[in-house]
């Protein structure tokens, strides 16, 4: 079994959350402006995807996770 790097995942999750927050702020600033509305929608669709693959894993991992992946 390959282990996961908890710290790395936590940092990634933090970044994803940060991107999401920033994009929401941008969306609010640009409300009614098509270029902002449509492009922020696109970016948020990608952060939604990343929550499945990264943020969820970071959340579910316990502390003291195993060493990262070596075969």
């Amino acid at each position: 079994m390959i282990g996961t790097n908890d710290e790395l995942l936590r940092q990634m999750k933090t970044k994803i959350d940060g991107i999401e927050n920033l994009v929401h702020e941008l969306k609010a600033l640009g409300e009614g402006v098509p270029v902002i509305e449509k492009n922020t929608r696109c970016i948020l669709s990608f952060t939604h995807t990343l929550t499945f693959g990264i943020s969820d894993v970071a959340e579910v991992n316990n502390e003291g996770g195993e060493k990262i992946w070596e075969k």
Binding site: T4, C42, S45, T49, F52, D56, V60, W69, E70
Partner: protein, 439 residues
């Protein structure tokens, strides 16, 4: 990350211990269930007495009613908002892609995707293609006009996201597509198994060798792919051929890895339950056949909560040599709709394909017909050999086919040959099975 960083599309989730995968699935099931109840009229009505807070375990999930295609049709026909009806989980102005089912079993279901839900579907396909070895250096040829059918749209967008060069091959005939494959030195294909065989056959008839056209990998979609057919495609194209399972409504929920021994369920993007065919209430044991009930966990535009796909599969285990920890399925019997009782015996058309492709490579095409003759059902198989042979050789071949099918299916087939080129060729899904008793 080391060398393993490139083996998996998402190494974190693909090698996660099962207990953690399950936790993520339960959490996201609760989320999508809550979302569906709030945003979709269908689920507000259907799950009135169930609160998301009640869902803590898989046993809680099992108490939620199933839905199937008929439920989707009823929720859609003549209902607002047009044209998607009560299935819709987003405001209709957020729907950015329209797809529909093929209509083989009845009125097509319209499947709306918002930009977010579409990207979620594409992400799943990124996993599928990456597992099949698709990389940035591949030139992927898709020999279809995509139309409203989702199969190749997903593959196309996912291949682009991976960084492949994607060449759409619609509006060409088979010869034109073969020329394009050669002209652009395509390295990968996305096609139905039927069309993969058809292209190979056409190539040979034109004096070309499909084995030397440079295709290294192929992902098949649109219809079942028995292992014998998969190996036949591999032999025909000198390429690795990968299967996956899914549908327009539930998305692509299982796929092959480089080991090519069974399909990985795309966890945690989906919760897939494999339930007994009699009661649809019990998760089957490893090795047992069951019906796949699928919940896409991140697709909000068209939430599907415990969708009965009617795909009959064999449950595997989570111990693949590739290192992925997802549950696997080992073999598919086809759709429950395709299962038929013939003279008291349960029959699936896929069993015929398995025999013919594995043991009778001299047969290029076939057709199965079930008819009522007096009080008895009769099942006949028409086969088209690659080349004409003498009468005695043909008789012997028909006899061997009949005997093998009897051993495989417990049914006596009337087997007859036709001249090469007689039977129809299919470019999308084949229609090789006809049950005339229902007509």
């Amino acid at each position: 990350m080391g060398v393993l960083g490139r083996k998996y599309w998402n190494p974190f989730v693909e090698t996660l211990p099962r207990e953690k995968l399950n936790l993520i699935q339960i959490k996201n099931f609760r989320k999508i269930f809550s979302y569906a109840k709030e945003h979709s009229a269908l689920y507000r009505e259907k799950h009135q007495g169930i609160s998301p807070d009640d869902i803590r375990t898989i046993e809680d999930i099992r108490r939620i009613p199933l839905i199937d295609k008929e439920d989707l049709r009823r929720a859609q026909a003549g209902k607002e908002p047009f044209p998607f009806g009560e299935l819709l989980g987003v405001p209709v102005e957020e729907v950015s892609t329209f797809r529909q089912t093929s209509g083989t079993t009845g009125t097509p279901v319209y499947v709306p995707e918002s930009w977010e839900s579409w990207q979620w579907r594409v992400e799943v396909w990124c996993h599928i293609l990456w597992m099949a070895g698709f990389r940035e250096t591949d030139r992927v040829f898709v020999p279809f006009g995509y139309n409203v059918y989702v199969a190749f749209w997903e593959g196309h967008f996912a291949a682009e996201k991976l960084g492949c060069t994607v060449i759409p091959g619609g509006a060409l005939d088979t010869k034109g597509r073969l020329n394009k494959i050669q002209e652009l030195r395509a390295t990968a294909l996305l096609n139905t198994p039927t069309y993969g065989l058809h292209m190979a056959e056409t190539a040979r008839s034109l004096g070309l060798s499909p084995r030397e056209m440079g295709i290294k990998r192929m992902v098949c979609a649109g219809e079942p792919l028995p292992d014998a057919t998969r190996k036949r495609l591999e032999e025909s194209w000198n390429a690795e051929v990968y299967d996956h399972i899914g549908g327009t409504e539930p998305c692509a929920w299982g796929a092959m890895c480089e080991e090519r021994k069974g399909l990985h369920i795309m966890e945690p993007y989906f919760l897939v339950e494999i339930l007994d065919m009699e009661t649809l209430s019990r998760e089957v044991e490893e090795g047992e056949m069951g019906v796949a009930v699928v919940t896409p966990l991140g697709r909000r535009s068209f939430p599907l909560i415990r969708f009965n796909t009617k795909d009959v599969v064999r449950k595997g285990k989570a111990d693949c040599a590739c290192g992925r920890t997802s549950m696997m399925i080992q073999g598919m019997a086809g759709r429950a709709d395709d299962l038929r009782k013939i003279r008291g015996v349960l029959f699936t058309p896929v069993s015929v394909e398995e025999v013919l492709r594995a043991e009778f490579c001299e047969i290029t095409e076939y057709e199965i017909v079930v008819e009522r003759k007096g009080i008895m059902d009769e099942i006949s198989l028409t086969v088209e050999p690659e080349q004409e042979t003498g009468e005695e050789v043909m008789k012997e071949l028909m006899k061997r086919i009949s005997e093998r099918l009897k051993m495989k299916t417990n049914l006596r087939f009337f087997v007859r040959p036709v001249k090469p080129g007689t039977l129809p060729r299919y470019t999308l899904k084949s229609k090789r099975f006809k049950d005339c008793r229902e007509m």
